[in-house]
Each structure stands twice: as C-alpha cells, then as structure tokens.
C-alpha cells in the first residue's frame, strides 16, 4: 500500500512579483468565495459587488464616508504592522484604541473651551498616544521580563479597557460622564467643547478628516523610520533574527519595548481621532461594536506590514465597511461585511503560506528521512 501525504517545503527564492501578486490574488479568491456565499443566500453576487463599489467609492459623497471608516483602520493597521514587524504580536490594538479615546477625550474636556483649537487638537493627539502607549507597554514589559505570551496578555487587556470605558460612563459619576440634562436619565459622555472638534478638510468633491491626513503623515514617517534609520535597522534585525540581534550587540528586549509603546501609541492616536474627529464624545458601546482593533490586524496582514500599503488597504476595507452601512437593509444581511473581511483575512494568510512554501506530494518514508537528516 502506497500512501501519499502533502508536504510543505520552503521556497528557496521568491520571485519579485510574488509579494504583490499574493495579496491581490488572495483578495480575488476571497471575492470568489464571497460570491459563492452570496449565491447560496439567493443574492446575485455581481450586483452586490457592484453596489458595494458604488456605495464605497463612486456615488456622491461615498468616498468621504469611506475615509471616515478608513481613519480608525489606518491607525489600528499601523499599530499591528509596526508591532508584528519585530515579532511582537500585539492583538491589543482594540484596547489601546479605547485607552487613547479615554485619554484624548479626558484632556479635551479638561482644557475646556478656553484654549486655542490647535492646542486642544495637539494635546488630544499627545494624550491619545500616551494612553495607548502605556496600555501596550503592559504586555511589552510582561513579555520581555517574564516571557508571557503577548498575544494573550494584549488580548485580555482589550476587555479590561472596554470595562474601564464602560465604568467611566455607565457605572460611575466620572469626569467623562454627562451629569446634567438628559445625561441624568440616560448615561452618556460629555460632549467635547467644539474648539476640540478636529477639522474636516473640504477638497471640493471629497471631505478629508484631519485624522486621516495625520495618519497618512505618520505612515510615511514610519516608512522612513523602518527603512532609513538605525532604529529601523535594529527593528528589522530583531524581527528577522533575534539571536543574531543579540550577537550584534542589539538588545532585543529594548527594541521590543520601544516598538510596543510605539505600536500602542498609534492605536491610541486612533482613539483620540475617533472622539476628536467623529464622535466628539466618549462612547464605550460604539467603540466596542466597531472592533477597529481587530480589523486593524486584517489591514496590517493584507498590507504585508508595509506602513504605506496600510493607507491603501485601510481605504479599501473602509470602503467595504462604509458600503455595508449604506446598503444595510432587508435585502442586505448586516453580517455580510464581516463575512467578507473574514474571508479576505483567511485568504491572505493562506496565500502567505503558499507564497513561502511550495506544496509537494511525498511518501511517508521520505518524510522520515528529511525530518531526521542532519543539518
């Protein structure tokens, strides 16, 4: 009896086109599988996709709405991309985003209406970064000091952050909570003074939120940081070969801690953007329902951790989300957008495996031989 098994074998060399072809191909496969799902639910996949493209990018004002949806994804995407680059698997973008929102709204409320708008916005950016950065430092320190798994600790801290935000608005008479007017009956956050509302820049056909511009600038800065600076070089060595980094005199733990803080700060600025640019209020329920932190991981994976690519992927996924809001109705299942995003992530990760390895058929005895061959 001859049995065959499938075996993955690392590819020795990657052709130049492969890094680009894989995400694009994965995206197309995801659309294909999505089409099958749609067909089974009685929808015409072509018309659904056409409507998504229309409502995401083409129709009147659609692109402006897409940028609104893309802004938080841009920040959480950068958060994941920069952390994953050094092998720090920060799943905590969600919680760091929430902490950024808490800190950002806190400073805006504290400063009140009597400061110049520039000061209010700048302080929110800084405090958002501090809030998210501190929150990400916890798993960073736990990992480097006690070798705890950052995936678990950062994930758990997401729930802690959500509970803190809920407590501030629903379970206490905190500084963030509106205690007058309708707020007495229905718990909700204080509205930020209008001076602290972030600007939206009108370019005629498109309205660009200030937060999105800020995110683009940060993405460019991160690209330069990673490709051109000493710290970026250290990041690449630590991410690719931690033992070698140590051998070369780099202290991997320091790099990881710094990147953890940076990563959290990015998500935190995203949280500040969320309150400053869009909600103007600390809204725990809204934050939890959006799940920006988790979507950011999808963004980073699709962008292959490249910060500039994150901008474009955020717009793409933001478009799908935006179209999902616009199209939601009796003939358009609300879970569809989530299904599509999940399919895209799944196909991207699958595609990643196929890009790095080739699949071979082999007999079991070969498996033994190759597994035990001396290195």
């Amino acid at each position: 009896m001859k049995r065959f098994r499938l075996r993955l074998e690392p590819r020795s060399d990657l052709p130049k086109w492969l890094p680009w072809a894989v995400p694009v191909g994965s995206f197309l496969v995801a659309l294909l599988v999505g089409a099958i799902v749609l067909s089974t639910t009685g929808q015409n996949p072509f018309s659904v996709y056409a409507r998504i493209v229309d409502r995401a990018f083409l129709s009147d004002g659609a692109f402006s709405g897409t940028l609104v949806s893309a802004t938080p994804l841009l920040f959480t995407g950068l958060c994941a991309a920069v952390a994953f680059r050094v092998g720090f698997f920060n799943i905590g973008g969600e919680g760091q985003f929430v902490m950024g929102a808490i800190f950002g709204s806190g400073i805006a409320l504290k400063l009140g209406a009597d400061v110049p708008g520039v000061v209010a916005v700048a302080s929110m950016v800084v405090f958002g970064a501090i809030g998210g950065g501190l929150w990400a430092l916890i798993p960073g320190i736990l990992k480097t000091r006690f070798r705890t798994n950052e995936i678990i600790t950062s994930l758990m801290l997401n729930y802690v952050a959500a509970v803190i935000a809920t407590y501030l608005i629903f379970d206490s008479q905190s500084f963030w909570r509106e205690l007058t007017g309708s707020g007495v009956v229905f718990p909700k956050g204080k509205v930020l003074p209008t001076i602290a509302w972030w600007p939206k820049l009108d370019f005629g056909s498109v309205i660009v939120p200030f937060g999105f511009l800020l995110g683009m600038v940060i993405a460019g800065w991160l690209y330069v940081l990673q490709r051109k600076t000493r710290f970026g070089f250290e990041m690449r060595v630590v991410g690719g070969a931690p033992t070698t980094a140590r051998y070369a005199g780099i202290k991997p733990n320091r790099v990881i801690i710094a990147v953890a803080a940076l990563s959290g700060a990015l998500a935190g600025i995203g949280g500040a953007t969320d309150v400053g640019n869009f909600r103007h209020i600390l809204d725990p329920k809204g934050l939890q329902q959006s799940g920006f932190g988790y979507a950011g991981i999808v963004v980073a994976a699709l962008a292959r951790l490249n910060p500039v690519a994150v901008v474009f992927v955020a717009i793409l996924l933001g478009g799908i989300t935006n179209a999902g809001y616009a199209l939601r109705g009796p003939d358009f299942p609300s879970g569809l957008v989530g299904v599509l995003q999940g399919l895209i992530l799944f196909c991207t990760l699958g595609g990643e495996v196929l890009a790095r390895y080739r699949v071979k058929r082999s007999s079991p005895s070969d498996v033994i031989e190759t597994a035990l061959e001396p290195a």
Binding site: R230, T244, A248, G249
Partner: protein, 520 residues
C-alpha cells in the same frame, strides 16, 4: 525448532550489521560498517564526533534505512521499514536527550507508545505499575512508578528511559552517550546496571567517546572513524583505543604546515587572556571549570575536544552571549565586561559562530545589511538617526570583491547563499573592523572541500596580519593543520596545551578521552 537451530540461535549475534553504507548529501555518514553484538555483551561504539556513531544507531533502530548493507537479528536477516519494526525485533534505544513528558508519571510515560498492552490490551495502570516494579527490581533500577517525571533527577529519568525500553521487551539496548548527562556517581551506577542487564541475557550497545569508561565497562569495542568501522577489539588499554579512535600518524600532521610559520614570537603580545573562567551550562550543570588560556597576536590556538565539553560555553562568553560565574577575560589588557555583547565588539573581539545562519546572520536581510551588522552604530555608516545606505552598499561591494563572495548582488538575502559564501560573508564582516582577536567555531563544518580550503587560507591570512585566533573545532584534522598550539578541552577544563611541533596525536586522543596520563 531443532536442537541445532536452538544452539545456533543461542550463539548467533543478538544483532549484527554487514557492510552498512549511508550517505547524506556531501557526507558519507557510514561506509562499509560491519560489526556484531553478542547476546549478553556490553559492546561499545567508540569514535569522535562525526565518526558515524549516531547514524549507525539510527539505522539499527529503524529511523534510517541503509543505502546498502544489511542487518541480522539472531542470525535472521531483517529489513526495518520504521522504528516500529526495530522495536518488534527487540531493539530499543535509550536516547541521550530524554523523550519523557514531565507532567506524566513514570508508569504513564513507560506505557505511552507501547503499541499494545501485552497484558490484556486495556490501559490497566495498576498492572503496568506492577510490571515496572518487577522490572526495576530484577535489573536493579530503583524508581517509583507513580512519581512524576519533573520530580526526578537526571539519573532517575535515565532509568525511566531504560525501563521504557526493557518494558517493550527489548533484548538489545542502544545507549547514546548515556553518561554525558550524569554525575560521576550516577555514571558508576549506570555501569553496574549495564553489566547486570548483560548478565540477564540482554545486549547493550554503548556509544561513547570517553576512553576510560569504554575500557572499564565494555566487553568488546568497535572503533568508528570517518564513518568506517576500523576494528573490533577486546582491548581495555586506553592508549591503544586512543590511537584507534584518532587514527593518524604523527607524520600526517606535519604535512600541512608549509604555508605558515611554526612558531609565534615569544615577544608577540598576548591579545586574549582567559583566567580561571567558570560558567554553568543550559542545564544548570557546571560547563566551565576554571579555563586558563592565552592567545598571542598572530597566533592560532586550536581548541580540540569532543563536543559538549564546554567549548560552546567558552566561545559564547567571549562573545558576551553568556555570563561567566567567575574568572576573567582580558582583551589586549582590558577586561571584558561580563555578559555584554557590545563590549567585545568595541574591544575588537570578532566572533564567527558555529550556527552561522541562526546566530551570525539575519537570513532575510541582504548581504550588505548583514555586513553592516556590527558597524551600523558608528560613522561612516551611521549618521544619526539615519543610516547611509550608499555607504553600506559600497562597503559591502568592496568586501564581496575582497573575500570573493559569489552572489547576484549585495542586496541578495543571505539565506539564498551557499554554505561557503555564507562563511565568507561572516569572515568578511568579522575581519573588516581590524579585530585583535577572532573567535571562530567549527569554521569548516558543512562546507565542501574547496570552500574549506578557502576558509582555512583566510584564517592563515588573518593570523599573518597579527590577529590572535581562537579556533574551536571538533574536527581534529582541522585543528592540527591550522594551529600553533592545541588546547584540549575535557569536562569544562583545558586538560593540557601542546605545541603543534611536538603534537603527539595519541596523546591528544587520550586527552580528548579525558586521560591525563599515559597509563594502561
């Protein structure tokens, strides 16, 4: 069964190998190996690292299939398709690194993987424990079957490994370097266990490089050298065994010396001075036990010895990757900070590790970036906070030309390079900062003959420029042909240092086997 065949079965070897050849890409791990193990015998396989001991035991236990040659068990030819066949034929392996589950009990570990419970097919832990107790009594292997593995000492864990094999009714036990992990007292107990197993009609194949214990425990010894079985002897004279194991005449050593001077001037300054260095290894045992060694400028000092005698710990301390527990290292008169990886770089200690891809290089980064790995903090490469890519690239191109690195370009990731080119990239980087000391571990391991010659020439060139070189290698030929002085390491100490001009190979062989004096 007739009377004759019974007699024959009783006298046929418990297991025998005939003309076994096994090749791996670039290596003939075993070549025409023939030997036999009698029933009730302790049979030692003696050889240096890479002599083919492990490959042979993997063939005996069915992990590998030989390219040619065959095995016989009690006179019958067998063809093992998998380890299961070998177990069924009564051959069991006691691995050097234990394969036990720490949170399971002794009995659970022993029962685990026994394909079928010989008692009644059920998982009857009480019956299993009973059988273990019986076995441990008859072979004098005291162990509590209900103890969890993590509670046991290393010696006790090894007993569990042995019991595991006996439980599967093995008649031949292959023990791979069993004393490597044991304390002297535990080793003695193990020796008596081996002899009691032999008295009980089991056969023991005992793999070792320690001459003393081989001579005292084994009934017969088969010596392997460069993959071949040299001879099977009943010898218990360590001197004779040492010559068989090392197997070179003194003349052959002297041949390769033409291209270098035999002596380094007494006046040459000492660039590396190691005094009373002690350290613990990964398992918490003492790995270095007072190492003293000097290297002069322009001198190549070879550290010979069988792997696992502290060489790895020694070089890791010099590179700052491991902390010493006491003692000191002076580089050109300055003390090396304990456990700092940057300080050795600053003092001019270059290090080419044995694990080139895993420690020496970042495989996904380009040749140019890898070459910049130790100079990116300093100008001209660094212009804070930026790095000057143009400088990185042009310096890499220069080094690639100088060291003849064959690659499409300096942007090629190092993981795509051949072994020889990887070593050239490493040497290029480590030599480029004008080092005072070069520490290099197993420089030619895994390289083809041509690449070995190039690497050796590069080392001789470096010594010619006045670099003090500490060459750590398990390949005795390499050490003998390159070194001015040879230091032999055994159990965390330099047993002795000999000048290459009067290097007596037999004596080095004895030292590698832990024998200080030439004695019978």
């Amino acid at each position: 069964m007739t009377q004759d065949s019974l007699v024959e079965a009783a006298t046929a070897p418990a297991v025998a190998a005939f003309h076994i050849t096994k090749k791996f890409p670039g290596v003939n791990a075993n070549e025409d190996v023939t030997f036999d193990v009698r029933v009730g015998e302790v049979h030692a396989l003696l050889g240096e690292n890479g002599a083919g001991k492990t490959t042979l035991s993997n063939i005996l236990t069915g992990l590998y299939r030989p390219d040619s040659g065959w095995l016989e068990v009690l006179g019958d030819r067998v063809n093992f398709q998998s380890p299961r066949d070998a177990i069924a034929a009564g051959i069991g392996m006691v691995h050097q690194h234990f394969r036990l589950i720490p949170t399971f009990t002794v009995a659970e570990n022993i029962a685990l993987g026994s394909a079928h419970d010989p008692i009644n097919g059920r998982f009857d832990l009480a019956a299993i424990e009973e059988r273990i107790v019986a076995l441990s009594e008859s072979f004098d292997l005291p162990v509590d079957p209900r103890a969890k593995i993590w509670q046991l000492s290393v010696g006790e864990q090894q007993r569990v490994e042995i019991l595991k094999v006996l439980y599967r009714e093995a008649r031949v036990l292959i023990m791979d370097e069993p004393t490597a992990v044991l304390t002297p007292v535990e080793s003695e107990a193990l020796a008596s266990t081996m002899q009691s197993m032999a008295r009980n009609g089991r056969s023991v194949v005992f793999i070792s490089h320690k001459l003393g214990e081989v001579a005292s425990i084994a009934d017969r010894v088969t010596v392997l050298r460069h993959g071949r079985s040299v001879e099977t002897v009943t010898e218990n004279d360590v001197n004779a065994l040492a010559s068989l194991m090392v197997g070179r005449s003194v003349e052959s050593v002297q041949q390769t010396t033409e291209s270098m001077s035999l002596f380094v001037a007494e006046s040459a300054p000492v660039v590396l001075e190691i005094s009373d260095l002690c350290a613990t290894g990964d398992r918490g045992l003492k790995a270095l036990n007072g190492v003293n060694l000097n290297v002069r400028a322009g001198e190549i000092v070879g550290v010979a010895g069988v792997a696992g005698n502290g060489q790895r710990e020694l070089v890791e301390i010099l590179a700052g990757l491991r902390r010493s527990s006491s003692g000191s290292v002076q580089v050109d008169g300055e003390s090396l900070e304990n456990g700092s990886t940057r300080h050795p770089i600053r003092l001019g200690v270059s290090y080419v590790p044995q694990d080139r891809m895993g420690t020496g290089l970042a495989p996904d980064l380009s040749i140019a970036e890898n070459m910049a790995l130790k100079k990116y903090r300093r100008p001209p490469v660094s212009r804070p906070p930026f790095l000057r890519q143009s400088v990185i690239d042009s310096e890499a191109r220069e080094l690639m030309a100088q060291f003849d690195v064959r690659a499409p370009s300096e942007t090629t990731p190092t993981r795509r390079l051949s072994g020889g080119n990887v070593q050239k990239v490493l040497l290029a980087r480590e030599m480029s900062g004008d080092p005072k000391v070069l520490v290099i571990a197993s420089p030619s391991q895994g390289l083809d003959v041509g690449a070995v010659a190039i690497v050796h020439q590069l080392l001789l060139d470096a010594a010619g420029k006045g670099v003090g070189i500490l060459l750590v290698s398990e390949d005795l030929d390499e050490v003998l042909s390159l070194s001015h002085r040879i230091a032999v390491m055994y159990e965390g100490r330099i047993l002795d240092t000999v000048d290459r001009v009067d290097a007596d190979v037999q004596r080095i062989g004895l030292l590698m086997g832990g024998q200080m004096e030439e004695s019978a």
